[in-house]
Amino acid sequence: MLIAAVVVYPAVALSRASLSRYSITGLRQGSVGAANYARLLEQEALPTVVANTVLWVAAIVLVTVGVSLGLAQLLNEDFPGRRLVRWALIVPWAASVIVTSKLFVWIYDYYFGLLNHALLSLRLVAAPVDWLGNDATVMPAMIAVGIYVSLPFTTYVLLAGLSAIPGEVYEAARVDGASAWRAYRSVTLPLLRPALLVAVVLNVIYIFNSFPIVWTLNDRNPGFAHDTMITYMYKIAFKSSLRDIGLAAALGVVNVLVILLAVVLYLRTTSWREAEA
């Protein structure tokens, strides 16, 4: 059984790796060498798209992990109705992101959306805001949705980490005279590090790779001014006048390298030692 596992999984992984290689070499059939990469660098939209992507990932991951730490701490406490709160938190996670994205298109709607109605009623804005049509608001609006859909998963990962910490550790800390804050910093956070690691790495990957939110909420806007590297790539390949699969594949390779670099750096800084396992 164990041997089978060792044989089966690499086979699957290998076939997947070969798939990915196929996608790239297969697309570059004419053997144009590095020409696609050279053309990629010439694309006018590229700097904007890269900046968008950095903002998109950094803002969502930072806010999500920060807020989720608090939410996980809250849900780790025992209080009446805790189970209901957990169930509520499940909903945005369980719902498909494309559905949630459509929902927010409706909520953000200029004329019929409830967000503008609510803000006008509360006198927080003087006139309706065209959230998804205005260059200044569309990215924050999309980031808000990104945070919203990332929170449940992140909170649950951290919650699982918290609940895996045995109560005896806290008792020991209390016996040693540690304050609540000191116990949190010296006991909880270090023990939570594996969970935090998983949460951050997976969120970076997911959010970088996220497609439906930007695809749906940015639907109305022409050009690439609010695209991330992922939606930009898809548009190049399938939707824009370019329809340039070689160019898109080049960007796809860049995308993978970027995220590979990010994860390697992260694993370094958190001194992830695989030998511990």
């Binding site: 909903v91 369980a94 559905v99 990957i205």
Partner: protein, 280 residues
């Protein structure tokens, strides 16, 4: 215990419950909009100022969607794809994760790196290659294409999560089982797997939800409208030409309910933390 102290504890519980309630309301607010919109008649969709709740509640929207043959096709596709790919993921990921967590073998680090890298590969980056691959195999527009793709994409994640959990199970437990005369397979089945039920359940949930909610591969691979899964299919209710927001959200509610129910029934396994009491 003094009265003052128990009073403080009660106040703390009330504050926590209030915070929890506020959190739940904030989290659910958008979906309240969804449900209410799903129950509005067509004429109420374009009202200014907009209302949250319908004036005339119209549950018939849900029935209309359920009776829609297109919707039935999408639902069937989603069920087939999600269930089958989840099964494949669990059967493949559990032994692989256990083996890498417990044993050193040549290329183990490389193997784990491959797991990470394959997971990082964006479905979007692969989607054209996948399309060509399945085209060559004659599998475009088949459930098999989606099942295989979903299983492959979710496998890495399941291994990643399970491996971390297996690694956290103290070796002493298995050694104790060995001392008690358990073989390796028996140790795995009777000791390790029950202990790691929360992690396996977590992996199942992730795999199922990921497959159920997968969008971009289905968008690209499935051209036949009758075979599209729900995520892609239901967007046909709102396009540049027709804007049946009420039907879109009625369908969305139906699509979301099974996953939420599944979650709710197994939620307590998620954070079981079964290891806490195992080592004294």
């Amino acid at each position: 215990m003094s009265a003052a102290r128990s009073g403080r504890r009660a106040a703390r519980r009330v504050a926590l419950a209030a915070a929890g309630l506020a959190l739940a309301l904030i989290v659910l607010a958008p979906y309240a909009v969804m449900v209410c919109t799903a129950l509005k008649p067509e004429a109420e969709l374009r009202m200014t100022p907009p209302r949250l709740t319908p004036i005339a509640w119209r549950p018939a929207n849900v029935l209309e969607v359920l009776r829609d043959p297109s919707f039935q096709g999408w639902l069937y596709a989603s069920l087939v794809v999600a269930l089958t790919s989840t099964l494949i993921v669990v059967l493949a990921a559990t032994p692989a994760a256990y083996y890498t967590a417990r044993h050193r073998f040549p290329g183990r680090s490389a193997f784990l790196l491959v797991v990470l890298v394959t997971q990082m590969f964006s479905p979007t980056a692969l989607v054209v290659g996948l399309y060509r691959q399945f085209f060559d195999l004659g599998l475009v527009d088949t459930y098999a294409a989606l099942i295989l793709t979903n299983a492959a994409f979710n496998l890495a994640f399941a291994i990643w999560i399970l491996r971390a959990f297996f690694a956290s199970i103290p070796r002493e437990i298995e050694e104790a089982a060995a001392v008690d005369g358990c073989g390796r397979v028996r140790t795995l089945v009777q000791v390790v797997l029950p202990l790691s039920l929360p992690a396996i359940v977590t992996a199942v949930i992730f795999a199922f939800i990921a497959a159920w909610n997968e969008y971009i591969v289905a968008l690209t691979l499935m051209a036949d409208p009758a075979r599209k899964p729900l995520t892609v299919g239901i967007t046909a209710y709102v396009t540049a030409y027709v804007q049946h927001w009420n039907h879109l959200f009625a369908a969305s509610v139906i699509a979301i309910v099974p996953v939420v129910v599944l979650f709710a029934t197994i939620e307590r396994h998620l954070v079981g933390g079964l290891t806490a009491g195992s080592v004294k």
